[in-house]
């Protein structure tokens, strides 16, 4: 069942830095090195499946064979704004306050 060769997975520091940016994790240089090693090791174990030839086998995203789970378009209660904003780290004028936004949506 093996597909080609079991290529050795190697996660570099720059891979880790890119992934940490996507995941919004401010890692220390030590953490970057540690994760590079650990992810290489863990993904190394995963070569047992990444090397399987499964062309034609469908994916299962979901263990249930259900479709069309739908809800009627009827208004229900909303939460109390004061209660919700009380849980927020910062709020102003009935809204959630955040620092300035630099990136684009």
């Amino acid at each position: 069942m093996a597909k080609q060769s079991n290529e050795q997975v190697s996660i570099t520091r720059s891979d880790v830095e890119h992934v940490a940016m996507l995941a919004r994790l401010a890692l220390t240089p030590d953490e970057v090195g540690e994760f590079a090693e650990q992810l290489t090791a863990i993904l190394g174990h995963a070569t047992d499946i990444s090397s399987l030839d499964l062309d034609g086998v469908p994916t299962t995203a979901h263990p249930l064979p259900v479709t069309n789970v739908l809800r009627e378009d009827v208004i229900g209660p909303s939460l109390d704004r004061d209660e919700v904003l009380a849980a927020a780290p910062s709020a102003e004028e009935g809204r959630f306050r955040v620092p300035r936004i630099m990136g684009e949506a």
Partner: protein
């Protein structure tokens, strides 16, 4: 100490008050919680108030419900209105949910008394409860050993008699493995049988809530209460298992398959294997037909799981960004704030899984990792379907070993992941499985036997579990 079934009967008949039951359990908690740390939060006052409400119903001649006055401990990843819900993470420290999880509503509506929120591996990621931001839970049977995880607090709470019942969640074995380590019964129901609404997600397509109990019938009592369709969860199924309480012990003629890939392999402690074989013999003695069966793709379960679960988790845990609730660490702009908050709020294992999952989904790797793992999932489902053409239930160890010592597996993440090797396949397939204590190892720690069944096969699974329980497990 009486069982949950007995307590409910006594409270319903007026023979005992719910308050006295609650007080007794709160006293037990007060005496041993300091050394065990099963809870992140004990809700003593609320528990007494709930107990009084149950007693008032009894006094008015109303039926308080099947869990009348039974103390129930709740894993701290179940949302409880106005009661701290942390997932054992700094990032949610201090958060008070504005709503209850569906299971919490059902437990209280059935007369259950919530006594507190139990400790877990942060965001349910781990197999020892050592990953809690608030310190580990200790195994009540041997304080030098882990209780298992991630639902370690819920398993320990039942083992320490803090509550006859507790709720956990099981994504890759997080109920069954700690049940096995603490010598209690733990059930992962069919995916969709119990509503996940209000369960803080780890891996959505794998997570399922289930009960811990000292006996199989107590577990049935709680599962009966929490199962059933919920309109708030699109993955909740309409069909529920039939009532499981007192649903028989007869296994005569049942076909039981011993899964070789989960039993006869390197890494399974010979004592554990021997216990499973004794359980099989006990079933044979009661008239079941036992044979060995191969479910070949099971061996790929671990790899598939450690791609799918982190991938889903990386997305589910994105919302902890410091904007709407929980921790915020300030930053010059939103990007800096998000990143600093998440770095400070998440522990090492959570970060590791977020990194792994983000990587597995990222451009260029999706097909080789995530999609490939989902194909393996299809293989596993097919192999199980073939096995269930020949067998009514399957049998295996719950875990390769008995409870290990603190620190034994914290250095090498992968060695920790291996503790889930026997339990993961059921989550990938969405099938029910449960762990029943069956004898002790030479370390005097309990061994768990796992019964696996096809989707919605809870009834036959519980029957087999009762038969194993009745056989007692003594060598």
């Amino acid at each position: 100490m009486r069982s949950a079934v007995e307590i409910a009967a006594a409270v319903r008949s007026g023979e005992r008050t719910a308050r006295s039951v609650a007080e007794e359990h709160l006293a037990t908690i007060a005496s041993r919680e300091g050394e065990i740390h099963a809870f992140n939060h004990v809700t003593a006052d609320a528990a007494l108030a709930q107990a009084d409400a149950v007693d008032a119903k009894v006094a008015r001649g109303e039926d308080p419900g099947p869990l009348a006055g039974v103390p129930v401990a709740l894993k701290d990843n179940l949302c409880t209105r106005g009661v701290p819900t942390t997932c054992s993470s700094r990032i949610l420290d201090g958060w008070l949910p504005p709503y209850n999880a569906t299971v919490v509503e059902r437990v209280t509506a059935a007369g259950g008394v919530a006594v507190g929120k139990t400790n877990l591996d942060e965001f349910a990621m781990g197999s020892s409860t050592e990953n809690s931001a608030f310190g580990p839970t200790l195994n009540p049977l041997d304080l030098s050993r882990v209780p298992g995880g991630s639902s370690g607090g819920s398993a320990a709470a039942v083992a320490a008699r803090f509550a006859p019942l507790s709720l956990g969640s099981d994504t890759g074995g997080s109920i069954r493995q700690p049940a096995s380590f603490c010598g209690v019964v733990g059930v992962k129901p069919t995916y969709g049988v119990v509503s996940r609404y209000g369960l803080i997600a780890f891996a959505s397509s794998l997570d399922q809530i289930g009960p811990f109990a000292a006996t199989v019938n107590d577990a049935a009592l709680l599962l009966d209460v929490i199962s059933g369709h919920d309109r708030m969860d699109s993955t909740s199924i309409a069909a529920s298992p039939t009532a499981l309480l007192n649903d028989g012990t007869d296994v005569a003629g049942l076909r039981v398959g011993l899964v070789t890939e989960l039993t006869d392999v390197e890494g399974i402690d010979p004592e554990v294997r021997a216990a499973v074989e004794r359980a099989a013999s006990a079933l044979e003695a009661q008239g079941a037909i036992v044979e060995r069966i191969s479910v070949p793709s099971c061996i790929y379960g671990l790899s598939a799981y450690y791609l799918i679960a982190p991938a889903e988790a990386s997305s589910n845990l994105a919302r902890y960004d410091g904007v709407r609730y929980g921790l915020r660490v300030d930053g010059d702009d939103v990007y800096e704030m998000n990143s600093a908050t998440r770095d400070a709020g998440f522990g090492a294992e959570v970060k590791r899984r977020i990194m792994l999952g983000t990587y597995a989904l990222s451009a260029g790797f999706y097909d080789a990792y995530y999609a490939q793992a989902q194909r393996v999932r299809t293989l596993i489902i097919r192999d199980f379907a073939a096995a269930y053409e020949r067998f009514d239930v399957l049998l295996s160890p719950t875990t390769p070993t008995t409870a290990f010592k603190f620190g034994a597996k914290t250095e090498d993440p992968f060695s920790m992941y291996l503790s889930d090797i026997c339990t993961i396949a059921s989550n990938l397939a969405g099938h029910p499985a449960m762990s029943i204590p069956f004898g002790l190892g030479s370390d005097a720690m309990p061994i768990g036997v796992q019964v696996l069944a096809p989707a919605l096969g809870e009834s036959v699974m519980f029957r087999v579990a009762r038969a194993i329980e009745a056989a007692g497990g003594v060598a």
